[in-house]
């Protein structure tokens, strides 16, 4: 760990003050001395609360928002989503060309981009290495399936040009090489030399350099003065692990942290909205929470039963009451974060009478219905009002709450009648659709509905080159899935983040990560 001179001076001043206090007035004045020490905070350090510890920073295997948040400050992709608009903009690639048949994508890399910690200059070989590593089954990458069927070859005509040759026309390929998960580019030299140690010693090209991990406590990133878009305005980011949201809110109010990332509890959101000197940001997420119905288990194979369940659940009351309005209503698995979302789909309003009629029509009485859910807030609690709604229409609803590992095991077995599932990720339209509705995502994947009604449409949409027609195809998929109803979207998620008024320029993205690059700090 290196400290700037400035920091050292501030700390030394704090110590001097504490010592003077002890000398001056005995025991009681020690306390004010301590307090001034605690609030001695160099301006250029950005302190961000995270809710869970980091574990994997290797882009091929990365998962969880905390890891992704750290990685998004360290790494770059060929292209990236603009944080505010979700438009795809250049990152490491200064420009790119797409062949007329959309089967070859050629990227021109920026010149003079350097890897952190003296690992040399970025070249097209690093890009090739990054993706081939994900494609290699031996790497054990979760994201292999995202590109394995799409990419045929990766060519490097020169040190600053990389060409992806695809197996078929694909108009949406840029989404697969954006700066997120496997799209983050790694250095061949660093990965090879560091071996097993690489995972927690990541080397990137981004605005911040990984400095230190204190397990169970914090992660430190230091500014990269040589960053190709200019040095960051803060010198250091400290991501501080604070599990309890109430404790994090108090820490923000006391200015022990600057940014409250992953703010979720409705009561804490309300509290911080009332707090002076704190700003609460919010933005529609790119994920919905869904009640997945296993269409391979009777009588859920009957669409009338699935529709009856949808009519029986009072989703508006769930959002307004349980979540105090901190979520949005949803009719499809796309949220407003997706350009291709449509509202022109069949909707299932809360109508217990209709639900009873549909059950009767299907000849189903005394349906035993078990919802399996994970023992994490709010998923363990939100199913209770849902089960209660179902009881009102004569369905014998039961809730089974499992610890996370057991839940994953149960869900991946494919034998649960129904479960709750959310796909958190980048605004890549194929991500939720393929993950939830494609045959290749059958258990252990997330398609625990075992639904394959849009297989053909999913194939067509990627290869359709006309943007207007593609939008129509997405709409067709959303309509078909809303008609067949293998899953019921319960709500569209909404992301909250809070920061103190000393933080300037923070942009909230829809991907559930937090980036320090645009941020500057001013004194309170």
């Amino acid at each position: 760990m290196t400290m700037s001179n400035n920091q050292r001076e501030v700390q030394a001043a704090g110590r001097r003050r504490a010592l003077q206090a002890i000398g001056a007035g005995g025991a009681l004045s020690i306390i004010p001395g301590w307090v001034s020490l605690a609030s001695a905070q160099p301006l250029e350090r950005l302190r961000i609360r995270i809710g869970a510890d980091i574990s994997i920073l290797d882009p091929a295997r990365i998962f969880q928002v905390e890891n992704q948040s750290v990685a998004s400050n360290i790494y770059n992709g060929l292209v990236k989503y603009d944080a505010a608009s979700n438009k795809i903009v250049p990152d490491l690639a200064a420009s790119w060309t797409v062949s007329p048949d959309a089967k070859a994508y050629t990227f021109k890399l920026r010149e003079g981009v350097a890897w952190h910690k003296n690992f040399g200059a970025l070249s097209s070989d690093d890009v090739k290495f990054s993706f081939e590593r994900v494609l290699d089954p031996k790497t054990g990458s979760a994201y292999r399936g995202q590109i394995a069927d799409i990419v045929q070859a990766i060519e490097t005509p020169d040190a600053h040009t990389v060409r992806f040759v695809l197996t078929a026309s694909n108009a949406e390929f840029l989404h697969k090489v954006t700066a997120f998960n496997h799209g983050w580019i790694v250095s061949r030299k660093a990965v090879t030399e560091l071996g097993d140690k690489y995972n927690l010693n990541p080397i990137g090209t981004g605005p911040f350099v990984f400095a230190q991990w204190v397990p169970g406590s914090e992660v430190r990133l230091s500014a990269n003065p040589k960053y190709f878009e200019g040095a960051p305005k803060v010198q250091e980011i400290v991501l501080r692990l604070i599990k309890d949201e109430t404790a994090a809110a108090i820490a923000l109010e006391k200015r022990e942290i600057d940014v409250f990332f992953a703010l979720q509890q409705p009561e804490v959101i309300e509290r911080l909205r009332r707090t002076k000197g704190v700003k609460v940001l919010e933005r529609p997420a790119s994920s919905t929470l869904n009640l997945v119905l296993n269409t391979s288990i009777k009588p859920l194979d009957d669409v009338r039963v699935r529709r009856a369940i949808a009519h029986a659940i009072n989703r508006k009351a769930l959002i307004d009451g349980f979540f105090r309005g901190t979520k949005f209503e949803a009719n499809t698995v796309f949220t407003s974060a997706f350009e291709d979302n449509t509202d022109d789909v069949p909707k299932y309003a809360y109508d217990p009478g209709r639900a009873r009629a549909l059950l009767k029509e299907a000849g189903v009485s005394n349906l035993r219905f078990e919802i399996t859910t994970v023992g994490l807030s709010p998923y363990d609690k939100l199913v209770v009002p849902i089960a209660n709604d179902l009881m009102q229409v004569g369905i014998q609803a039961k809730v089974r709450v499992l610890e996370r590992g057991a839940y994953q095991q149960a869900r991946s077995s494919g034998n649960v009648q129904s479960c709750v599932t959310s796909v958190v990720g980048p605004p890549d339209p194929s991500a939720p659709l393929v993950t939830l509705f494609a045959r290749k995502s059958f258990p252990p994947g997330l398609n625990s509905a075992r639904y394959d009604g849009v297989e053909d449409l999913l194939k067509h949409v990627a290869s359709e080159l006309d943007a207007g027609k593609r939008k129509e195809l997405y709409a067709a998929i959303l309509r078909k899935t809303a008609t067949d109803l293998p899953l019921i979207p319960l709500y569209a998620d909404r992301l909250f983040m809070a920061h103190s008024d000393t933080v300037q320029g923070l942009v909230q993205n829809s991907m559930f990560t937090v980036q320090g690059y645009p941020v500057s700090l001013r004194s309170a």
Partner: protein, 313 residues
């Protein structure tokens, strides 16, 4: 003494082997899979199989166990399946945090609990006795996370005396102590309640014995009766409760660690269990069991120092 030590050492090794074995099979018996945990939303049948093979989880369990024990005997407890780091590295980094909290918390608990127990017993039935016992009852009854949150709200937020976060990696002894103070006080208070109650009842039992009555009849001063005769005899049960609560606070301080956002052995093991990070759980429990045995052995020796009657056993 050397025979005693040899026996203690053998006992230590046996306990550790037992703990690791139980942890090994228990972790594999509960549902869940580190491969599923790591692959998350993108788990496909292929990816799960590949990752399981990579982590060595596709081998028969008995073979996995033998491999693990073989490595463990050479001091290698394996690498965390999630981070790929040596399991002992992460565990070792959380030990100092736990130790600092447990030692300071126990220091506070003893400093408060023992004197209160003595005072309470010596004035048996008085208002002081009742006040101490009601206070101790409250201390035992309120869950430690609640006391922690109230302390944060009152002492950190409203009064501004302490930081909200119970840990800081900033250099400087003052900073560390200042951050440690509140969690240590909360742990100390909750343990002090137990110690006060136990000290009181141990003292009362000794004070009711014949030799005390004889000493009183012979005109020995009350001060001497209380501190030389009664306390020394009551010390063995008091030490016993201290040794038990010390071991308890090492691992079970999870709630305090969560409320005060402190790293520590308890939360590291908890995290590892949730991620099915087998190696990390095993290494953590090994250290925890070692600490418990070490503390118990130390106190066993102390009992002998205090009470010569226990030396021959």
């Amino acid at each position: 003494m050397s025979r005693h030590l040899a026996r203690s050492l053998a006992q230590l090794l046996l306990t550790l082997a037992g703990v690791v074995t139980v942890a090994f099979f228990l972790m594999r018996a509960i549902p869940g899979d580190p491969a599923l945990y790591m692959l998350g939303d993108y788990a496909t049948a292929d990816a799960v199989a590949v990752l399981r093979a990579k982590l060595g989880l596709d081998l028969p369990i008995l073979q996995q166990y033998l491999l693990f024990m073989q490595h463990a005997l050479t001091g290698d407890l394996g690498t965390s399946v999630v981070t790929g780091q040596p399991a002992m590295t992460e565990i070792a980094s959380s030990v100092p945090w736990s130790l600092a909290l447990a030692v300071s918390g126990m220091g506070i608990a003893i400093a408060i609990g023992v004197p209160l127990g003595i005072v309470s017993a010596s004035r048996h039935g008085s208002w002081i006795d009742r006040a101490v016992m009601v206070g101790a009852l409250l201390g035992i009854s309120f869950p430690v996370f609640w006391i922690g949150l109230v302390a944060i709200l009152g002492l950190a937020h409203k009064a501004g005396l302490f930081p909200t976060l119970g840990a800081s990696s900033e250099p400087g002894l003052w900073t560390s102590l200042h951050h440690l103070a509140l969690p240590a006080i909360v742990l100390g208070l909750s343990v002090a309640a137990y110690i006060a109650r136990l000290t009181r009842s141990a003292m009362l039992e000794v004070l009711g014995q014949d030799f005390i009555r004889v000493a009183r009849a012979m005109g020995v001063s009350e001060h001497r009766i209380l501190y030389r005769l009664a306390l020394r005899n009551a010390l063995v049960p008091i030490l016993a409760v201290i040794s038990v609560t010390f071991a308890w606070s090492l691992g079970n301080a999870i709630l305090i660690e969560v409320v005060f956002s402190r790293p520590g052995l308890g939360s590291t093991i908890m995290k590892a269990v949730l991620a099915r990070d087998y190696q990390l759980v095993q290494a953590g429990l090994l250290v925890l069991a070692g600490a418990v045995v070490f503390v118990n052995t130390t106190f066993n020796i102390l009992y002998g120092v205090i009470d010569p009657r226990l030396r021959t056993r």
